[in-house]
């Protein structure tokens, strides 16, 4: 059981390392989008502080989303997905491994860089801590939900954009609670409630998403 999950994680991480661009660039995308906003909006510090949680979360969400289409597409195109579906263990486990690997490559780095970017927006130490925690807790849910969308749109050529259509609505709760946690901290209300909701979302989606994705993948392979 665990062996196959770690095998998948190991392989996906090795591929990500081999391509290099993958890891560095999801991060860079995040950084660039976050830095674009002050450019488009203008440099008033008060305005920026209010914007910070929203902008950081929307950027995290987009960065995650951008890498989703490739989650299964590469494996599908070169026939690896068939082989994975034919391996003698439930496909859901394989997907669990892929979701974890996706998070390690696209979610974790965001959480690590987020406090640095938050400083730019003049957030307090408290708020930075909550921001990191929220991204750490919320991004696995993004990877999980994203996997379902990626599997459903697999092989449909309009896929990349159709994917965002399916996935973004489901991301909204994560965005609201995630930005809400930081906002609540900034306004002194305490973000614990939001954080525990985020944790609940993540657990629910990690438990459920791999199996739904596996079912969708089987349909795509027919």
């Amino acid at each position: 059981m665990l062996k196959i999950v770690t095998a998948v994680i190991g392989r996906d991480l090795k591929l990500a390392m081999r391509r290099q661009a993958d890891i560095v660039s999801a991060l860079f995308f995040f950084i660039i989008v976050v830095s674009l906003f002050p450019l488009g909006v203008g440099p008033e510090p008060d305005l920026l502080r209010k914007l910070a949680p929203g902008v950081l979360w929307v950027a995290a969400l987009l960065a995650t989303m951008l890498s989703l289409p490739r989650l299964f597409a590469d494996d599908h195109r070169d026939g690896t997905l068939e082989q994975l579906a034919l391996a003698p263990h439930p496909l859901g486990l394989v997907v669990t491994g892929k979701v974890i690997a996706h998070w390690l490559v696209s979610g974790l780095p965001l959480a690590l860089i987020a406090p640095v970017l938050g400083i730019q927006f003049d957030l307090s130490a408290d708020a930075l801590l909550v921001l990191t925690g929220a991204i750490l807790l919320g991004t696995p849910a993004l990877s999980g939900i994203g996997a379902i969308g990626a599997a459903l749109t697999l092989g449909l050529r309009g896929g990349g954009v159709l994917l965002s259509l399916l996935v973004l609505p489901l991301y909204i709760p994560v965005l609201i609670f995630g930005a809400g946690a930081v906002d609540a901290t900034v306004t002194g209300l305490g973000g614990e409630g939001h954080l525990s909701l985020l944790a609940a979302l993540t657990f629910a989606s990690l438990g459920f998403a791999p199996w739904a994705s596996a079912a969708a993948l089987k349909i795509a392979l027919e």
Partner: protein
């Protein structure tokens, strides 16, 4: 052998098609009847609400539309579950026939809610849990339609769409209970079977309008289902016979 009642017979498009054709006028008529009665009670007879003034009358379409938007989604999810479990042809067609109506109901709920919110809360829109989850519902409908339209093999489209429906079904209880779970602007449920806080005429007006919306949805969905059936089964003998019959 004696003629036994056979569920599968009615789940087959060949028998369902003429049956649906015969039922549509009845549902349409019922819808009009309930609608007229509901509007009469709601718009002409019911007294004003002491808190909200006449603006409350939006309730007579807002609530039925909101209910139907959730209910239709549940029905689609039900068909999806049946389709995935038993592989029946009819279920996918029903889900697809219902989707546009559900989306329109969700849109109406949002539209009337927004028009209600402006005078009551002073804003067209707030990011309250119920409003957000209803918006997500609209996106789920649109996503379902886009997904099934993007897959051209109907069997695969049904399966993938069904899966999406089942995944999204968690949203419905969230919409319904959001007013309980979160302390928000949107008011809680006031329709209660044992004790209602509303005036009797208001309650009856609303229920009649809900019935009107319900019958309307069934009629339109059946109309659309018939078209989809013809399209999908165009190579079967019954459709050819049907088409030849229309000719005459």
């Amino acid at each position: 052998m004696k003629d036994r009642f056979n569920l599968y017979r009615y789940a087959s498009p060949a028998t369902f098609y003429p049956l649906a054709g015969r039922m549509i006028p009845y549902f349409a008529a019922l819808s009009v009847l309930f609608g007229l009665a509901g509007l009469y009670l709601g718009m002409l007879v019911a007294p004003t609400d002491f808190q909200q003034g006449e603006g409350y009358r939006i309730i007579f379409i807002h609530v039925p539309a909101s209910w139907m938007s959730m209910f239709i989604y549940l029905v689609m999810a039900f068909w999806a579950a049946i389709g995935l479990a038993f592989n029946t042809r009819l279920s996918g067609m029903m889900a697809q026939a219902l989707a546009p109506t559900g989306a329109l109901m969700a849109f109406l709920s949002l539209w009337t809610g927004a028009l209600w919110g402006k005078p009551m809360w002073g804003a067209w829109w707030v990011w309250d849990a119920r409003l957000t989850s209803e918006l997500i519902l609209l996106f789920l409908y649109i996503g379902f339609m886009a997904l099934t339209a993007a897959i051209d093999d109907p069997k695969r489209a049904d399966k993938a769409g069904g899966l999406l429906l089942l995944v999204g079904v968690v949203n419905v209880p969230i919409i319904y209970f959001s007013v309980k779970w979160w302390n928000t602007l949107h008011q809680g449920s006031s329709v209660n079977l044992t004790k209602s806080s509303m005036a009797q005429t208001m309650l009856w007006g609303m229920l009649l309008m809900a019935l009107c919306f319900w019958m309307y949805s069934i009629a339109v969905a059946l109309l659309r289902a018939r078209t989809i059936m013809l399209e999908r089964e165009r190579h079967t003998d019954w459709v050819k016979a049907e088409l030849a019959g229309v000719e005459r």
